[in-house]
Assembly symmetry: C2
Homo-oligomer: 366 residues x 2
């Protein structure tokens, strides 16, 4: 299952939508949906939600033409796009005259000690860099030199606990998806440098008697990120040097025991994107979305121990769970809302249709 960059153990109070304070939206034009109309009013008292809770909440009437019913979806998109008002606290991270990320001014203080590696410029010529920018020492010309030098810094910051959760997994640094890789950097450090992140997320669905069902996973309670939360059947970050399609087939096998023959039937259907600021962490993620129609008798089998269990749920019920709770790992909600749009579960007759649709690609989709 896909992991977020920053460790996040959800608190119980954060799992229900009504506790989410509405945040400013990025690139937002006037919003037509009143956040006061939130549909999320389902009380749950258990200390941790179960599949029974999911089914119970999903069962509530879902009327796709109800003009108020997009509010709960928009809240979930907002949850992936926090902190736009803090954008001015970041300065660009520039390599070879391209912006590859953004670093919080507070975090740059930790980097200033390493002046043989990081260079701080104040007289920036670009309008994007009025507050200056951070770059690497020009002596570090080769990707492998940059990778080694920055790794030394991150090792020290990791040991001090300033960058927690070091994974010893390298992450490519590039300004956009098809651009060349300038160097590589420890994955846990990526959000501290505001790097672009890419992943693949797959909606695995079954059609039975004209109704569509989604296979939903529940993350293992032992996972360090988002334990116990709902997730896609298959999803994962995109490592360097592997294509989206190849990565998806690999993840299909590891996460759900889907054979190569079936996995190759998955259809790429577009992408969603978001930009999320949480203290020093700036996520700028693009998720490539896939649909896979599975045989009716297919049953997923997790191979890597990261999923507690799976359940097949009617799409209309999944829509209710997304609207009314925060049971889903936040970025999965975006990909499922995109599925709801493409499969006609959200219709233009709903007030705020275009606002919600546009918000699914709030981030820099490049």
């Amino acid at each position: 299952m896909a992991s977020g960059f920053c460790s996040l153990r959800p608190t119980l109070t954060s799992l229900f939508s009504f506790s989410l304070a509405p945040t400013l939206r990025w690139r937002s034009s006037s919003l037509r949906i009143s956040r006061a109309l939130s549909a999320a009013t389902v009380p749950i008292s258990s200390s941790s939600f179960t599949w029974d809770d999911v089914v119970e909440i999903g069962r509530a009437e879902y009327a796709p033409c109800n003009s108020d019913d997009l509010t709960g979806f928009l809240e979930k998109v907002d949850r992936c796009n926090r902190g736009s008002e803090k954008l001015a606290e970041f300065i660009p991270f520039v390599i070879e005259e391209q912006i590859v990320g953004y670093i919080h001014k507070g975090f740059t203080e930790y980097l200033r000690d390493f002046h043989d590696i990081f260079t701080f410029s104040q007289n920036a010529s670009s309008p994007d860099c009025v507050d200056g920018h951070v770059t690497l020492n020009l002596m570090l010309e080769k990707p492998e030199d940059r990778t080694r030098a920055v790794a030394d810094v991150i090792k020290i910051l990791g040991d001090k606990g300033i960058i927690p959760g070091i994974r010893n997994e390298l992450y490519p640094v590039k300004p956009s998806f098809n651009a060349p890789v300038y160097f590589s950097l420890e994955r846990a450090a990526a959000p501290y440098f505001g790097l672009k992140g890419y992943g693949v997320h797959m909606n695995g669905y079954v059609e039975r008697d004209g109704q569509k069902f989604l296979w939903i996973g529940k993350r293992s309670l032992s996972k360090s990120t988002y334990p116990g939360m709902l997730d896609h059947l298959v999803a994962g970050g995109l490592p360097h040097g592997i294509s989206c399609g190849e990565n998806l087939v690999k993840e299909c096998e590891e996460e759900a025991g889907i054979s190569k023959v079936i996995a190759h039937r998955a259809i790429p259907v577009g992408a969603v994107s978001y930009m999320d600021i949480d203290h020093y962490c700036f996520k700028r993620d693009v998720l490539f979305c896939y649909d896979l129609e599975l045989p009716e008798d297919f049953v997923p089998k997790n191979q890597d121990g990261e999923v507690e269990s799976f359940k097949l749920i009617r799409v209309a019920q999944v829509a209710n769970v997304i609207r009314k709770t925060s049971f889903f790992k936040a970025n999965c909600s975006l990909v499922i809302i995109d599925f709801l749009f493409r499969h006609g579960f959200i219709r233009p007759e709903s007030s705020g249709y275009l606002d919600l649709y546009r918000s699914l690609r709030n981030g820099d989709c490049s």
Copy 2:
């Protein structure tokens, strides 16, 4: 079939992609696709293209993973998004403190004669209005008063030939899709006021032996707009006071003889948007997209005389026709490229995937 606001009879030289000069893209970030790699090299010598030409061009090998093959698609998107460099030649058209459109500074000269109807403001407080803005005389408070007053002006400009092609069809003036209507205005005048325009476009497809085919229409040669060009099975502008779904069902009947029972199976799948400046005309259109899977034995029958004929063509061949020619009415290309994305005919492995995907919603999608 959907009609453009401005009359356009395509010239023969404009029908082939290689004659299209690449234009600047709106909201464009760095483009990864070299326009020099255009795949459009098919010579056609006939004075007007036929279905045989379409089939011949479609037949050429289409390899969705070829890294260069998105260039022809991107050119068609550019064709719908011309003139971004001329944005500064327009000033906002403001009603009740909301921007509802943009008017070319040259065109405003025709409006200055009517100072009891149009008001020109120079000391604008909004950063969007540094060059001032146009509004209606504050005495015109009621929608019906505004509609009547502006209609008088448009009648005069129509008689003088300044606004050609008057249709006597009213168009709602509003800042975004769900906003209230401030007044109504002759449809042919809409692009001169840079109003938002909305339409519904439907991809009618058939699945046979695991392959998808699209029903394509060829517009009647007697149509005033885009005569003889390729078009969707069903498409139309959205009149005031009718929902997208209702309008689609109506257009299905009129344009292709699709029964209500079948038309109701059409699935809304999202939207595309574009912004196009052509002299004084500024189109800001949002097209709601629909997919309808049709029975294998379905044959469309045009009822309103606006379609010369229909043909069922393999989707991969339609993709080739879009890449290599300008046979399609320009905005139909956008909706079909969106179909190609959602049905896996364009894949993330192609260089420029995200650039092309993003460009489908270049306009103000609100």
